[in-house]
Structure formats: C-alpha cells, structure tokens
Symmetry: C2
Subunit: 268 residues, 2 copies
C-alpha cells in the first residue's frame, strides 16, 4: 500500500480510524460459544460492521499468541479476510518485534511474505540493523515505537529525550512513504512537539478511549496538512456491547469516532 | 525453574551452554526432506545430540513465525519435547516481546501458561509496566535486553549509557532469581563493566561463534563466583554439518564449547 492510497482512503472516508482487533476469549459475546474459530468469527463480524468507518485494522499479535498455534491460525485468517474483502484497508500487525538483522528479516518475512500485512510495528531498542529488514520491502510500512501511551514511557523513552533521538535517527533510515511512528494519545502536547521535528511521517496513535486520550486533542496536536495520523481504538469499539448486538454496537462506536474526526479533517 | 536448579545443572555439567534452536528450512539437511514437521524433527535430533553438554535451549520465535501457524506449532512441539524429556533443561523463548501492561500479560500467558517455557526475552523500551507481567510468574525468568551483540547497539543502547540505565532500573523490578539480562559477547570489555554494577544476575550471552565472540573472553569478563552466565551458540552448533551426520556434528560442536567452559568453570 502506497502513501497516496492511504491518503485517498482518509480523504474518501473523512476518517483516520484504525480498529484494534484484540479479541479476548473471556470477553467474547456468548453467541460465539462453540465456534471452531471464535476469534476469527468475532473479528470478521467487527470488520464487516466497521469497514465503512475505518481505514485501517490493527490486530495485536499478543492476543493470538496466547492461544498458541490455534490463535496464530486465526490471526492469519483475520489478515487474509481483510485483504480479500477490503483490499483498500491497511492491515497493521501490531507485533513490536525487534532483533538482530538476520532474525529481524525472519519477522519481516512472517508479516510481509507469509501474510499480506501492509505494516508492522517495530521496537527500536536494538537500532538500525533491527529495523532495516522491514524497510527493505517495497510498498510496506514500518511503524517504529516513538513515544508510547503507557505510564512507564517515562522510565526510558522520556529520559534524556530518548523518544526524540529514536524518531530523528529512524527518520534517516526510511521515508514518509514507508516509515511511521507510534505516538500515544495520552500526552497530546507531545504530539505537537514531535510534529515540529517530524513534519511528514504518519503517526499511529493508540490511547484514545480506554486509555484516556481524545480524538480532538490528537488531531489538533498531531495532524499535518494531509492529516498523516491514524487513531486507533480497540476496546472502545470491539467491546462496545457484549450482547448479540456486538457488531452493531461496534459500528456505532466507530461511527461516533469517525464523526469526531470528520469535523476536523474537513475543516483543515 | 529456580536459581538453585539452574546452578545445579551448570555445576553438574561444568557447562553454561545454551543451544539456540533457530532452524531455517533452506538450510536443513536433505535427509529431512518430506517430513511433515521438519523444524521439529531437526530440533529433536539436535536436542538429543547435545543434551549432555547444554544446560539450556533457546528457540527464537522469528524462525517459527516466518512459517505461520505451521511454524508456531513446531515451536510448541519443540518446547514440549524438551520439558517432557529433559525437564531439568531451561527453555528460553527468545521472543523479545514488549507492550503495554494489559498486552504484555498476554505474551506472558503465551509463553508461561500456554507453553511450559522457563524464560522469555523481553525488550525494555516501553518501561516497567511492559516487563512486570512476566516477572509476576513464580519460578519463571524474565530476560531483559541490556546490551545486545549487534553493531547497531551503538545507535541507542550505547548512547548516554542507556544500557546501564536499563539494567540498573530493571534490577529494582526483579531479583537475581527471576531476572536476567542479555549482554552480547561481541564487546567482552562491556561484560566486565556491567558486572561491576550488576554482580548477581545471570547474563544471557549471544554472539559467540558466527558473530565473533569467544567463550574464554565471555567467562573471564562476565562470570561471577557462581558463573551466572549462559553462553548461547546457534548457527555454530545446529549447522555444524548439513549432511546426514548433522546431529553428531552438532554434538561435537557443543562438546567443543563445553570443554572450553570446563577449564574456566572448574578453575574458579
């Protein structure tokens, strides 16, 4: 997926919504009891219900790995379903992988060759050779952790402006057409600060909803003239209802977020 | 697995060898062609051949994920095989995971509940709440990336002594009985420096062999009075031969490393 394809989606839908597909067997609606692949069926219903409002889906690998190879299979089924039925939607594997070059290449192969993901989140701690194997894929995106949404971002990321060093250094490895950064919604003033030295790259922004960030604050502080922000919501959408109406409730929650975005994206 | 059980193994075998199980379909011996689970069969032969020399096995998840759910299944089979046939050996899932608390808990569940791994490698970038869910498991080990063996460790880890901040901070989260650090063999002088402020925790040391580090340098610089070092070798053992004699060649390579260790471990 190219940058222009992604911009086109955002403009067409007037939405920069990313739906986080983080299903938890213990929280699925009872109507899915007894399904052979409940995580996948749940995701499929959520995807069909929200596709008119979202430009992007982001399954987090942890929620599949914890169920072993059966979980991993449903991760693969989910990615395949999106790219088959909604090829224009971006799929971000939220994997936060990072390893030495030889091994990072295996992770890139897992998400970009063995599966048709468009993007992968990557941890920067080990430096350039742990990130470059992902950047080597044409029309794929590498999403490097910059400043994350959790409280403990203060332990290392915010010490001595490490997040800034990471973002400025990684900007030399990729381009705004293949490199994004994770910047959390929970510190909106930091989004504005990061935009000053990173004007063009996309920000993938988690932390809206359950974690406390707001759409308006994120866009006002983080968007540039082409938006270049993807706002993720997971629990607020997929668990909007735990009844039989879970898909309709997810659609409502996604629509609600999209409408918050529309006023601001149109207005720009 | 407790610290005393691990120390017991090291003393009994006079070895601190960890065998990295990073199988690559393109490099497996031809004798395995046509197997339904070639990665697992390869690993099983390597494990049986090296168990008398190694205290630890370290499969890296990237080498399984790149084959999708079929690869993940063979990862599970490998871990299960070791804990069934060699329960005294430590199994380290080299996964380098790291995510916000809620999600990190899922990764911990994947490796410590869904599989019987004894340890997991964890990336520190996101701070305390991304590491604590692993430390919460009794008699399991969290192996935090400190100073890695790759050249790009210079990009961030070695800037402003970040590796030191990470190690000293993480030492407050765990104990020498549940927390280790990854410290690469490629900068042996750094092993000695890190020992000065981290006297008791185990170091998991990759980078011997293909990456250029030596057993003697690692032990002389990194061991404490109880050793507290695990030295990993992957490619040097598992690809010692690509012929039908691959298992025997792996045994020889492992024995060779063990003999280099014995002289130093006994002598202490």
């Amino acid at each position: 997926m190219t940058g222009n394809q992604l911009f086109g989606q955002i403009e067409a839908l007037q939405s920069c919504l990313c739906v986080g597909l983080d299903p938890d067997l213990d929280r699925l609606p009872a109507v899915l009891d007894g399904e052979q692949y409940p995580l996948f069926i749940f995701n499929r219903e959520i995807i069909d219900a929200t596709a008119q409002h979202a430009v992007c889906y982001k399954p987090n690998t942890a929620f599949y790995e914890c169920y072993g190879s059966w979980g991993w299979q449903q991760f693969e089924m989910t990615v395949a379903y999106i790219k088959e039925h909604y090829p224009e939607k971006m799929v971000i594997a939220d994997a936060k992988r990072g390893d030495i070059g030889n091994t990072a290449g295996r992770y890139a192969k897992a998400f970009f060759e063995n599966m048709p993901c468009d993007a992968v989140t990557v941890a920067p701690y080990m430096g350039r050779d742990s990130v470059e194997p992902f950047l080597a894929y044409k029309d794929k995106w590498t999403v490097v952790l910059g400043l994350t949404s959790n409280a403990s971002a203060e332990d290392f990321e915010m010490q001595d402006d490490l997040y800034r060093k990471v973002i400025e250094t990684a900007m030399q490895w990729g381009t705004p057409d293949n490199l994004m950064f994770v910047v959390g919604a929970t510190r909106p003033e930091m989004l504005a600060r990061i935009r000053t030295f990173c004007p063009d790259n996309f920000f993938l922004v988690p932390g809206v909803g359950a974690q406390g960030g707001s759409v308006e604050d994120v866009l006002k502080n983080g968007a540039n003239s082409r938006c270049s922000v993807l706002i993720n919501s997971s629990r607020g959408i997929i668990y909007a209802s735990r009844g039989d109406d879970f898909a309709a409730a997810a659609a409502s929650a996604a629509l609600n977020l999209k409408m918050q975005m529309q006023g601001i994206i149109i207005a720009r």
